[in-house]
Symmetry: C2
Subunit: 347 residues, 2 copies
Amino acid sequence: MDITIAVDAMGCDMGPVAAVEGAVGALSDGRFGGKITKILLVGRQAEINAHLAKTPHDSGRLEVVDADEVIHVDESPTAAIKTKKNSSIVVGLNLVKQGRAAAFVSAGSTGAVLTGATTIIGRIKGIKRPALGVLLPNSNGGHTFLTDAGANVEVKPEFLLQFAQMGSVYMESVLDVKNPRIGLINVGAEREKGTSVAKASHELLEASQLNFLGNVEARDIPYGTVDVAVCDGFVGNIILKYTEGYAKGLFATLKTELISKFLSRFGALLSRGAFKRMRKRYDYTEVGGAPFIGLNGLVVKAHGSSNAKAMKNSIGQCVKFIEGGVVGKIAAMSSEKLDERDEKNGI
Amino acid sequence: MDITIAVDAMGCDMGPVAAVEGAVGALSDGRFGGKITKILLVGRQAEINAHLAKTPHDSGRLEVVDADEVIHVDESPTAAIKTKKNSSIVVGLNLVKQGRAAAFVSAGSTGAVLTGATTIIGRIKGIKRPALGVLLPNSNGGHTFLTDAGANVEVKPEFLLQFAQMGSVYMESVLDVKNPRIGLINVGAEREKGTSVAKASHELLEASQLNFLGNVEARDIPYGTVDVAVCDGFVGNIILKYTEGYAKGLFATLKTELISKFLSRFGALLSRGAFKRMRKRYDYTEVGGAPFIGLNGLVVKAHGSSNAKAMKNSIGQCVKFIEGGVVGKIAAMSSEKLDERDEKNGI
């Protein structure tokens, strides 16, 4: 299987070094490196080469694709995608469109990546809205796939149904979860809870073939009660950002408390292995980025503050996605639904 | 100042013992006990008296008000409030309506308490929708007031403006925060972010007299960037429930990690003081319940799983609210706005 991955070298807050070192690291990573045919580093050639010169790498499997423009986070996504044809994001997405790469990983402007992906790569036929998904660690030792994590702030019930279907395919194909449990994020378990969109979505999900457990509360994400937690992109983005901030706040408070007294400080020193394992479990750089599902190709949005490890894991994450054939499975599922609808309509 | 507080003795999951012991404890608590004139324990007289008989108390300041019906969490709130006229919730709310109590504290069905409060006590003139508010601990050592925390799942921009105004009064009067900083929970800082309701709310808040910092992200709550975080009740409830679950999940994982190795276990033993202080800071039983603001009286919704300490703190919380004259201040603010509108309309 030819797995070529395009990587945006200009998207990370800390500059090209994170993407370049991440790409080099990915190629030699024991977990997935052997399966990657080639990585295409997209961005300002001279800058990328300067970093590559400092990093020993397999030059036969690493190619630089020049793109001399950069889209900044404060630019209007739509305008930037239209005008900056030679930006790393537009060039990278075109590599996927042209079939030269199976995936594009970017830590750049979320808006530009999403807008560009939808415009350039395009939606799978029958998919109304692509969605972002993120894997959040739960206390069962596993992960819960939260979708939509921020692509669609306003939704219709049919969108949520598709997010659930795509999330189910993702968890089955990428994380090997059999018959993934789906929950609809709501303000209570009862079917009549929530907004009118939530109520209508509950009905659609219940009538579907999915392993739908019903409404769940936000606490079911960290508890790991469900494998896929479905919500609109407004709520999803809030949960995602809150997770980041809350963990940081909690660890900061714990640190302050631990160093405030001698005995605690000494105790913390002895427990540092446990804290390290804990941090690792809750560290987003371990998981990789957020796949944007529902497109005719894979686009992974990595965190803007990604370091080399986060970029490496975001690249690695693509391997299972591609091997699992997620795009093809979603397309098959979607065309089945289209056929069913056509049958109903007597076409 | 006469401060009489009515307490729902039947609302706690663990039965009347939590409310009874909480009330007894509140009357003798050094922080606020001396300011409470009387507590009215509302519920099944015989059951309450049986618990009171076992708990030494100041009988001159503790009165039982009989209410032999109980509203359960699985009942339809509207139907229950209409038919169970002799339930502890309806009787307790009537005590506030009749002016016999300045506040009602209940750990019972959220839906029934909210529906009952709006129907029986009623809204302050000019307030379109009362809202729930909760104090969430932040890493600055303070608290952020999240409102609406679950009363209104669907909102209009004018509701959110009022939530912000009421939250500002609350933080100023109850927590002595000067010129509280207000943030609108959104998916990004830019004014054009979010749903159509979010955009219109941003405009209204910006045009107001409030100390509005603009859109904030959910992580600003644990960071303590704002004093009042405004959102609809759907998002607010999700943040609230997520906070609960996430903290529980995080502590559970940490515990597992800490006891997994001898050295960590020994270290944790030495650091237990720090963990205790940490837990205390993040413990909801320390803060009390969620005030339901915008009514002609104070109603506090305590957590269903409240123990005696949580009930005591929920009762104590009412003292500062009443002393701070929150209801009067919201009414004054609201009538000012009404006057302004009348002026505009040339009335």
